[in-house]
Subunit: 401 residues, 2 copies
Amino acid sequence: MRQVAIVGIGHTRFGKHADRRLVDLMGEAALAAMSDCELSPGPAAVDQVLAANMGGGIVNHETGIASALASTLNLTPVPAELVENGPASGASAVKLGHAMIAGGMAETVLVVGGEIMKAVSGSRATDFVATLLHPDAEYTVGVTLPAFAGMFTRLYMDRYGLTERQLAAVAVKDHDNALLNPYAHLHKQVTLKDICGSPEAEQKNPLVADPLRLYGVCPVSDGAAAVLLCAADSLRFKALNTHPTVVISGIASATDTHCVQDRLDPLILNAVRNSAERAYRMAELTPEDISFAELHDAFVILELAIAEEIGLFARGTAGEAAIAGETAIDGSIPINPSGGLKAKGHPLGATGVSQIYELVKQLRGEAEPGRQVNNPLHGIAVNFGGFGNNVVTTICSREEP
Amino acid sequence: MRQVAIVGIGHTRFGKHADRRLVDLMGEAALAAMSDCELSPGPAAVDQVLAANMGGGIVNHETGIASALASTLNLTPVPAELVENGPASGASAVKLGHAMIAGGMAETVLVVGGEIMKAVSGSRATDFVATLLHPDAEYTVGVTLPAFAGMFTRLYMDRYGLTERQLAAVAVKDHDNALLNPYAHLHKQVTLKDICGSPEAEQKNPLVADPLRLYGVCPVSDGAAAVLLCAADSLRFKALNTHPTVVISGIASATDTHCVQDRLDPLILNAVRNSAERAYRMAELTPEDISFAELHDAFVILELAIAEEIGLFARGTAGEAAIAGETAIDGSIPINPSGGLKAKGHPLGATGVSQIYELVKQLRGEAEPGRQVNNPLHGIAVNFGGFGNNVVTTICSREEP
């Protein structure tokens, strides 16, 4: 299997882009990734384009986004395909791009994830995201993604004694990190006192799905991110590798039952654990080797539960660690230095690619002052689809020169 | 690169399944493919599921189909992803499955394509399919897929002298073949006299987009098809290879400009030619080696134009060949022995997988009496997306025991 490096990364601001066309926004991220490794777009610039998107059809009334993107970027006749895997579409596309290079079907693959969600707002956005749930057994009986997150949080609190304060600490840390990330959707510092512990704070931070509150939920964002993959043993790699070398050392996905009610224990995120185990095995690494993590905190409870499921903390202890500052930039295991989905934003198809963008940025040592993790060697990203029914884990590593 | 065989194939009836759930219909095809090679579903049955679908979100209000399918089939925690590439989604998924096995990321990949289109009918179906076109430069100014096909047909007639009779001969041949295919949507014999050459015939076969007539257009169909890919050098192959061995000898995709107006000559299908050239090169074959073809005749003109573009006929001569019977089952180069999109039907995400199903069926010698091609060695399939902006060519070959 050929080793796969990430030689170029690109990102748009996450936030409000409802006036932009999806393909143009994705093109902006793609051009940034090519520019990052000094590659000019053109018919032979890359061997394959993989797009990642979930709602082009429903929200933007556009399909065949991959070929539209290839054409917009003047890359035709490059092969182009789109990968959809709900909110895990981005990392799934990277996984398939990695496989194409590993197998010798391509030397360079441009992966571009994007979503324009602001076109639908409020209940229409909830309805769009709920297309992920089982249509008969879940959605039609009133269960939405935030409802699942609320029930999950309650059960976790009951079992492990997690407090509202510990949960709020995750949001506070994410907002701190996002403030230093120029691409983040929310640039707004909050303190524990602002959102927790008083009637004024609770008014500012109202319940969404008890006990889940507003600051426990990611915003609805538009945005795009791109990474350029390259075979590390190729001639092209020598020309394109203009930054410290970062490789994909492990990448794997796994599924769980579509219906949450079919799981023996709803607090066990089987697909997270299975995909992480496979990724660790491929990378020949253990949780102890990981320097930092980008975890799918569409709801802050998920940052805690995923961190435990992939072995960064013992079960039921991630909340204490969060409030103790262990997951801050200067903590023992920084989590979501980008601001996470919570504060950076969560344009569905872009998120998985954006997480991997952040792994590369940190591993290169190129993150903005104040949010650069200290000398990281291995970063892990978990991209989470449905309510945990399809999850991709990616491990990237810095190669010593 | 590991050689990839197709060991199992499955198909549902194409036609009306608007009362079925998309995932259940795709599950039916998947179970048939597993049963075809005596594989029982279960957590370790396959290494990867790839779904192909275009309209799950828009038409069925469902996303994340791949994980839903994995769960329905009791295959969790199997990794599962969905590939969308417009009407070429099916073959694109097979292409990515092939890459995963070729690269050693999987030994077995289950590819399942499906679409339920009948939920939208008439102008809503046209609107759904038109999501493929450029939203500003094409669709909003009134151009739809049938409109493009009409203009393409007129230009082709003007340049090469193609007659309405030659065009109708393609439909007649497709209906003849579909009559013998139990999975075909349209089981209805028609003659040249029925649909061409008299006022009565023209009433039966009215204009859709001048000069394109009703019998020149595929029906709107629901359906699903599945193929099970397996590394030909694996232990599992020995157990699963219960039929004459068929391998994927070449598979490649290519893109063309999103807007048809940006092409120097709209009759040149660049993406067809580019993908076919790459597939021939990979297979180390030429058009002369091909025994039969499954071509994407969503409009009958495309059967002719694609056959010429991939080198089966000189440009402008496929119409004469069709009326002379050269593309019939017993002709020199049978085309669409399945009935083609025209008469077998065209459930978008299923079509590319269904074409490859047919290649395998014919190469095994297992097609129904009357529509079995005589001793074929190499079959080619062209799966066409947008109006030619994203095309996948697949060549399958029978391996001598």
